[in-house]
């Protein structure tokens, strides 16, 4: 009967191994130490230290080390958060989008909460060829729309990436601009236009 019982033991140990994945543990008491080590300042309240499941998992793992089960869990949960534009129109004003891409302020304790948040795209991505001060934390998005066209699938994919990048790349470093309400729906549309509009400097 030993051969019959083994799978049960295996299943039990697998369960024990996979359980901590979903517990809110990061490292020994790191979350508690973070709570003790910070204090609220202006708009940056202490609630910002509370991790959601994606943040907890992506603290423990990177995209490369994330177990497959957790990866698909993040992807599915994140996909469910993505709201398409309410009027079905993906593209706004590329000039407004360029300004959002250039603006790095928003949500810092030192920022004016009355001003619109920036997207700070240039911190991490190359976009317009004319802007040389771009970062390299993310891939180059030069000629984004020119290379990809404006098929419904392509527009939906780019919207998803802006809204919640975790839906496509679990534990991506990219902020969830829509899901976390960093940018408004209109701002997201404007950034979309900056990426896709043939007249946008991104596609020159």
């Amino acid at each position: 009967m030993i051969s019959l019982r083994l799978p049960g033991v295996l299943a039990a140990s697998l369960l024990a191994v996979s359980l901590p994945l979903y517990a809110a543990e990061t490292a020994p008491d790191a979350a508690a130490a973070m709570q003790r080590s910070f204090e609220a300042k202006k708009q940056a309240g202490m609630d910002r230290l509370q991790q959601d499941e994606v943040q907890t998992l992506c603290t423990r793992y990177t995209t490369a080390t994330l177990p497959a089960e957790a990866a698909s869990r993040i992807q599915q949960a994140s996909l469910a958060t993505v709201k398409p534009p309410s009027d079905g129109q993906y593209l706004g004003d590329y000039k407004a989008g360029e300004k959002i891409a250039q603006t790095g302020t928003g949500l810092q304790s030192s920022d004016d909460p009355a001003k619109p948040n920036g997207g700070n795209c240039y911190a991490c991505h190359q976009l317009a060829s004319s802007e040389l001060a771009y970062g390299t934390l993310g891939p180059s998005l030069q000629h984004y729309g020119k290379l990809r066209g404006q098929s419904p699938e392509m527009l939906a994919l780019a919207w998803r990436k802006l809204y919640n990048a975790q839906a496509d790349v679990p534990c991506s470093n990219m902020p969830r601009f829509g899901h976390q309400k960093i940018l408004t729906e209109q701002q997201l549309k404007d950034v979309m236009a900056f990426l896709f509009d043939p007249a946008s400097p991104v596609n020159q």
Partner: protein, 271 residues
């Protein structure tokens, strides 16, 4: 302050600004800073903080009218040469792991009797509002120039501080999901034109840690490691990192340990 040296400094700062303006597109920030360092030679504005710190160190002050020459920074009372290279470390008298800045607070409060809140009223200087802590820090740090970073790391609390620092480094939180590791976890990356050291490696940690504290050109102030860390968290959109907190000490320990063997060149000059 109208010495020839100060005048030269003003001219150099002016020409740097011109240079930065004219060459915005072609010259990277790194090139501009390298050029700035070259113009200064050994003449680092941080010297102003160092000499102010040296005076503070030797002046009898506070209710106890004592100077700080009995301050034990880990190598015995009054020994400042090489002390910074072995911090943070465990101190028996305070029963804490302390970085240089929290240790200086201990010395000021116990030896001079100055209340912590009073001494820390200006933690980080701002123009006319001068920080005594920054001046003392600069003075002590400069006495470790050329020394290799070597931490004791024997006490369990020191190892625990390192482990916490390591965990805090990867802690993703806030509206942007940022952690220290988001920007400083990979090699060869940059934000805009600013190159980012990979702080988890010896090379990256040394490059950064050996030059902090530093004179910050853009602010015209000498900035300490505690300042640097709390400013990183501000940019991460997180709340205010408390001075001398577990996470502040832990992260300093994590960076210092990763930078071990590196030769200290602080106070440095940063953008």
């Amino acid at each position: 302050m109208n010495t020839p040296r100060a005048t030269r400094r003003a001219l150099l700062v002016g020409s740097l600004l011109l240079l930065a303006g004219a060459a915005q597109a072609e010259t990277s920030t790194q090139d501009a800073i390298a050029e700035y360092r070259e113009m200064f030679g050994d003449d680092n504005p941080a010297e102003l903080w160092q000499s102010r710190g040296e005076a503070l160190w030797h002046t009898a002050r506070g209710p106890k009218q004592a100077n700080l020459t009995a301050c034990d920074l880990g190598l015995g009372p009054g020994v400042i040469e090489g002390a910074y290279a072995q911090l943070p470390r465990w101190f028996d008298d305070t029963q804490q792991v302390q970085d240089l800045e929290t240790r200086l607070v201990s010395c000021v409060t116990t030896l001079q009797g100055i209340p912590r809140e009073e001494f820390l009223k200006v933690k980080f200087g701002d123009g006319e509002k001068k920080s005594e802590l920054e001046a003392l820090t600069a003075y002590v740090v400069a006495a470790s120039r050329g020394k290799p970073i070597a931490l004791p790391m024997q006490h369990p609390a020191e190892q625990a501080a390192y482990a916490l620092g390591k965990a805090a480094f990867s802690y993703r939180a806030g509206p942007h999901d940022f952690a220290c590791a988001t920007c400083h976890g990979d090699a060869g990356k940059r934000i805009r034109l600013q190159e980012l050291p990979q702080l988890t490696t010896a090379a990256g940690a040394r490059e950064a840690y050996t030059h902090w504290p530093a004179y910050r050109i853009s602010q015209g102030e000498l900035r300490t490691m505690e300042w640097r860390l709390q400013d990183c968290f501000r940019q991460q959109r997180l709340p205010q990192l408390k001075f001398g907190s577990e996470v502040a000490i832990g992260l300093t320990m994590f960076l210092a340990k990763n930078a071990e063997g590196g030769t200290l060149a602080a106070p440095g000059i940063k953008r």
